[in-house]
């Protein structure tokens, strides 16, 4: 096997690529070429957008392309594809599936969404009720999914469905790629407390999926889904923020620039939050240093737990600090934002939207279970739902 690729090798390749491809040229052509050159996600195998380089070197490549003014694939817009679908297809997909899906996924030509959560299966994801039934050489899918961001723009969805209700719940699941253009797929915007509709409900009524759309073996859906979720959890924001880079910066600026709002009682509260924000920021710095050194720690879950609580408290204090202004809002329109911006809008929006931070992507309660059991090694609770057939469980 070849010697490991170094940063210099990569930079040489990037420079060579840039010499041959005009960053100012056609965006899509450029991105496709970058993929084909193995400079998309360098830790992926050759032929699938990578060259099997160490994952930590990706930032070197991205920075060089950015420096050259090259177009990127708007990663936040396709984060579900990049963060969840791609690793799953790579690990569990067939050669044909990898070849078919990964390139347009990375270039952003095809947006992906996640069809996991259901009204009756939120924290208990393995309890999904959406049925997939054999139909000749394919499958017929019926059910309802929820909290599906980008569903209204997605070409494909990663779908967890129940193919055997008569076995225990973790054993009766199968994992599919759902064709979002197929007949019977209906996407409805789901309005949230902020008035916006970031998410969707997806109704699946007699949706026919070819068997080639299945990822992994029938009944192996939970194992495949774990790959997806594992990658969701490790995904933490790109680069470390500078001091006061996050929401705390907004509060600190307000405190500094608007002395008329200050009250003695809130001063110490602002300082306490500043301390917690800086502590969390340094935790992120340390975590990234560990990841970069190939020693991933479990601090990822700590980050998400603390981030959710902190953003909720900072914005809550900001609203009170603003007093009368905190009683006013900047609009309840049912917009459909593609990205969440906790800094862009007003304090009341920040406060409301932050409420979602402890629910989406694994509730803080589920995360605490995970930390307690996987990090601290505390025993699991007595389970009553893993032995019986799914269809016999109370719900």
């Amino acid at each position: 096997m070849a010697a490991p690729v170094t940063a210099d090798d990569l930079l040489a390749r990037v420079d060579g690529f840039l010499a041959a491809h005009d960053p100012a040229g056609d965006r899509l052509e450029f991105l496709r070429a970058r993929f084909d050159a193995g400079l998309a996600w360098v830790h992926y195998p050759v032929g699938l957008g990578g060259i099997g380089a160490p994952r930590v070197l990706q930032s070197v490549v991205d920075q060089r392309f950015a420096a050259a003014g090259a177009p990127d694939n708007r990663p936040r817009r396709i984060s579900i594809g990049l963060g969840m679908a791609a690793p799953t297809v790579l690990r569990h997909g067939t050669a044909a599936q990898r070849a078919r899906y990964l390139r347009p996924l990375w270039t952003g030509e095809e947006v992906w969404c996640q069809l996991f959560s259901e009204p009756g299966a939120g924290s208990d994801l393995a309890g999904v009720a959406t049925r997939a039934v054999r139909d000749g050489d394919g499958w017929l899918v019926d059910g309802q999914k929820v909290w599906t961001s980008m569903a209204h723009q997605a070409r494909w969805g990663i779908l967890l469905a129940r193919t055997d209700p008569a076995v225990p719940k973790h054993q009766g699941l199968t994992y599919f790629v759902c064709d979002m253009h197929a007949p019977g797929v209906e996407v409805r915007p789901l309005r949230q407390a902020t008035g916006e509709a970031e998410f969707n409900e997806v109704f699946l009524s007699g949706v026919r999926l070819a068997d080639e759309l299945r990822i992994g073996a029938v009944g192996e859906g939970w194992a495949v889904a774990r790959t997806t979720l594992m990658n969701e959890r490790v995904a933490i924001g790109g680069n470390a923020l500078p001091r006061e880079g996050g929401m705390i910066g907004v509060l600190a600026r307000t405190w500094r620039e608007r002395p008329e709002l200050r009250t003695p009682a809130l001063h110490d509260e602002v300082l306490r939050l500043w301390v917690r924000a800086e502590a969390l920021r340094l935790t992120g710095v340390r975590l990234r240093q560990q990841l970069a050194a190939g020693e991933p720690g479990p601090e990822g879950s700590a980050m998400k737990l603390a981030f959710a609580a902190l953003t909720q408290q900072i914005s809550g204090v900001e609203v009170e600090l603003l007093g009368a202004e905190g009683l006013r809002h900047d609009g309840w329109d049912a917009t459909r934002p593609e990205e969440v911006d906790l800094i862009g809008r007003g304090a009341t929006y920040r406060w409301l939207r932050a409420k979602g931070n402890s629910i989406e992507g694994g509730t803080s309660e589920i995360l605490r279970n995970i930390v307690a059991e996987r990090v601290l090694g505390l025993p699991a609770e007595p389970r009553t739902d893993t032995g019986a057939a799914w269809k016999d469980l109370p719900r």
């Binding site: 959560s117 009204p119 299966a121 939120g122 924290s123 208990d124 309890g127 929820v146 909290w147 789901l190 309005r191 949230q192 407390a193 008035g195 608007r258 008329e260 709002l261 200050r262 009250t263 003695p264 009682a265 809130l266 509260e269 909720q312 809550g316 609203v319 009170e320 603003l322 007093g323 009368a324 202004e325 905190g326 009683l327 006013r328 809002h329 900047d330 609009g331 309840w332 009341t348 406060w351 409301l352 409420k355 979602g356 402890s358 629910i359 989406e360 509730t363 803080s364 309660e365 605490r368 389970r383 009553t384 739902d385 019986a388 469980l393 109370p394 719900r395």
Partner: protein, 389 residues
Amino acid sequence: MNLDLRYTEDQELLRDSVRAMLADHAPWTRVLKVAESPEPDDADLWRLLAVETGLAALAVPEHLGGAGGGFAETAVVLEELGRACAPVPYLGTTVATRALLHLGDTDLLRTVAAGEVIALALPFSAGPPRDDREFVSKPEVQPHFVTRNSDLAARSEVEVTLSGDGEPLLNGAVHSVAEALRARVLLVPAGGGLYAVDTSAAGVRREQVVSLDETRPLCDVSLWNVPARLLASGERAAAALDAALVTGAALLASEQLGLAQWCLDTTVEHLRTRYQFGRAVGSFQALKHRLADLWVELAQARAVARHAAACVASEDPDARLAASLAQAHCGPVAVRAAEECVQLHGGIGFTWEHPAHLYLKRAKSAAIAYGTAAHHRTVLATLTDLTPA
């Protein structure tokens, strides 16, 4: 000697009838519709409360057409209105009533008794000052007391001039006024006095603002050469204003209590019936303990809110402290209850189609109304001689 902090039998009967009425006429689906609509509140519900049942004039003496009840009863009604998140200008009218009772203004008290809305033209965030002399003795604290928000404050001065025939005319603006959009009369503090303004007069403009709590939308009031009636001036005006704001802070606590109780009850009910992992979610100990802690806070909020209501009802000298204590405790409890309600409902609690967000927004807005908990703690610092470092 302690005031009685329990509910009387009559109060329990009053509660039952109000709750039944609201169950019929103000289900949350209707509350959401009203909040989404351009309407400032639920006119039909207000008519029911103010005209048909006379509950809005509970505290107005019978000889003036009121129900001759007291603020302890008003507090019970507010508990139920909070529990229903009801979009009616009940609290503001109660606060205005308190000022009118202080001034003994029989005309306007009759107007209240007739079911009209009367509102105090101050930003909803204005809380009672440290002592009732602050208005008159410390004019410099006035802007702070009216609002700590400079650019809004700039838009919040009302000047008094005299018309040709010596009638006072008001010019200026007040921002972020609550429960005033349907008001027949505004009580406007201006030039050290308190004036009554008929909102049908030319030159009165009320602009509804997008509010965090759309079940109690605010408006910015502007006045151009509006004829006004002087109700009181100097210390008498200050004292009336003070009594009104102390009452507002004290009775809002009952609304917050009812709101928090709804959040707890609704969350408990959800967790009893929601199954995950083959169990009722409410059987998970971490959630049980959080709700137990919340209930402990609520038990204390009830005692504190009842104490504040009792002090206001009996014009107890402890009323100012009781009111600040109530806001310092009940405001945060209501917010926490609403936040737990959202969180423990999971995704569904974060949606527009579930009532939780209505309570969340009302709780946060109420935590600022009549002064934040932080403001009231500074008031308490003065009242208890726990002076700053």
